[in-house]
Amino acid sequence: MEKLELIAKGAEADIWRDIDWNGKDVLIKRRVRKLYRHEDLDNQLRSYRTIHEALIMHRAKRAGVPTPVVYQVIPEEAVIVMEHINGEKIRDVINFVENEKRKEIFRIIGVQTGRLHKAGIIHGDLTTSNMIKEKTLIFFIDFGLAELSSEDEKRGVDLHLMRRMLISTHYMLEEELFKAFEDGYRSILGGDAEAVFKKMKEIEKRGRYVEREDTMDGDA
């Protein structure tokens, strides 16, 4: 283990880097045991998410979205060994690039999200922390919460998460960046995109008061 370097201690997983894993520079993602949840539930979640993540990463690549290469999966240890992408998180670079470049990045993110959705993949945690820029490519990472679906509802949630993260993290740029994102997304999904945007707005409005709305009488 001494040649391993812990490079990220995420909420869900630890990520170790091994620069010589059978001659390759890799990241080893290990979903860690969560003491706050029931052991059986914890094991189920970790092993299921590990297998699922690897499958979906592969599928995303087929749809034209850059993702790290998966070298090995060890479900019972909740481990994935994958290619190390040498780049920077979009979250960290976005405030430091010029405006036009920034919009272009978000257009590409929109295109790639469109490709995922068109291929029936919902990312599930579409934030700027989960996108890495390496040279000309923007890699999508962390498919741990991804699922296979083509429902507008789920696509809408993906977009809603993206937009919400923009508001909470890049709030000053939210409007124009989301506009660029929409343009890219629309260029892939065409006519289907509008229904997703509509759903996203609906989800935003829905917020927390669904149950209450149902029983509310004549409210302003």
Binding site: K34, Y36, V210, M216
Partner: protein, 336 residues
């Protein structure tokens, strides 16, 4: 202004089944915190019936609060009220009372966001400075923290609140009111984890499918109620824990505050404590009478808002039953 050095604010809370009148001074002393709960005879809260309860009880609760605070109405400098989010008819009852008092006493009126008030009284009571807050109740489930002028929402329920999920399940299972605590008591005797849907979408949560699945299992009658309550809690709180932990990792806050009605649950407290420890943050809890809906939180937040120059004109003091906390500027936080 000499008076601003020591203000007394009377706050009215009436977003749902609780009617609260609190009296708080600007040095953070709680002079009174009277709460009357509307308990429905059957089913859940009926907004109109709850509103009727609040309007019938208001005079009495107000009197109790003034008595407890040992003040007279002329000692009050400011009226604040819960302007949203919540049940329209209930909110309107509180707002009407607040307007009447402000006009009658000829003092300023301040409308307060209910969710922000939960965070503010939580900070006051737990001495948390800048926490990430998990606010869980019958009507709200959200994870929030202050960032650049506002309380940002980092995660929330996409459908029903976790408290609503527990309460509705309890009602279906014929457990006594209040449902959440009854589920907790029975869950303590359970030990077998039954499969139930675990739904986390990025940073957001969904409890309606979990509720439906739990009710289906209940009606099938193939498992012990103890195990079902246990599993329902384990799954719901693991979901809350996951999103809270990720928000904590993302925001890098040093304090984790738990508040709202469901904060009384010991299992949920232990989840929060474990997560805080894991991330080197301090876990903060609020005495339960200030964690559930109460008037003191509205009064205290009214003071914070008033001192930073915020006022609400009676003419435009409409309630907003969908008022999101992240729409509100909180100038009192910018200095600390």
């Amino acid at each position: 202004m000499e008076k601003e050095e020591h203000l007394i604010c009377l706050g009215i809370e009436s977003t749902a089944d609780n009617l609260g009148v609190g009296i708080v001074s600007s040095d953070g002393r709680i002079l009174a915190n009277e709460v009357e709960v509307h308990v429905p005879k059957t089913g859940g809260i009926h907004p109109r019936e709850a509103a009727q309860h609040h309007s019938a009880e208001f005079g009495r609760v107000l009197e109790k609060a003034l008595k407890a605070a040992k003040i007279r109405s002329k000692d009050i400098d400011l009226i604040s009220f819960s302007q949203g989010p919540g049940l329209g008819p209930c909110l309107r009852t509180g707002a009407t009372a607040a307007r009447a008092l402000a006009v009658y006493l000829n003092i300023p009126l301040v409308g307060v966001n209910h969710c922000i008030a939960h965070v503010e009284i939580g900070r006051l009571m737990s001495s948390a400075k800048d926490p990430l807050t998990l606010y869980v109740s019958g009507g709200n489930t959200l994870i929030t923290a202050y960032e650049s002028g506002r309380y940002r929402i980092f995660g929330e329920t996409l459908d029903i609140a976790v408290g609503n999920c527990l309460d509705t399940f309890a009602r279906e299972a014929g457990l006594p009111y209040p449902g959440g605590p009854a589920v907790e008591t029975i869950a303590a005797k359970g030990n077998q984890l039954l499969p139930l849907p675990y739904i986390v979408k990025g940073m957001d949560l969904s409890f309606s499918g979990l509720l439906t699945a739990a009710i289906l299992k209940l009606n099938e009658g193939q498992c012990r109620l103890e195990d079902l309550c246990f599993s329902l809690q384990e799954v719901a709180f693991a979901m809350l824990g996951e999103v809270t932990e990720r928000a904590l990792a993302h925001t890098k806050k040093h304090e984790l505050l738990l508040t709202g009605g469901v904060a009384a649950n010991k299992r949920l407290r232990s989840v929060i404590q474990l997560i805080a420890e894991e991330h080197g943050a301090a876990s903060k809890f609020v005495p339960q009478k200030f964690a559930t809906d109460n008037g003191a939180m509205i009064a205290w937040t009214g003071i914070l808002a008033y001192v930073s120059g915020l006022r609400t004109d009676v003419e435009t003091s409409y309630i907003d039953s969908h008022w999101r906390m992240d729409e509100v500027e909180v100038p009192w936080r910018s200095s600390n």
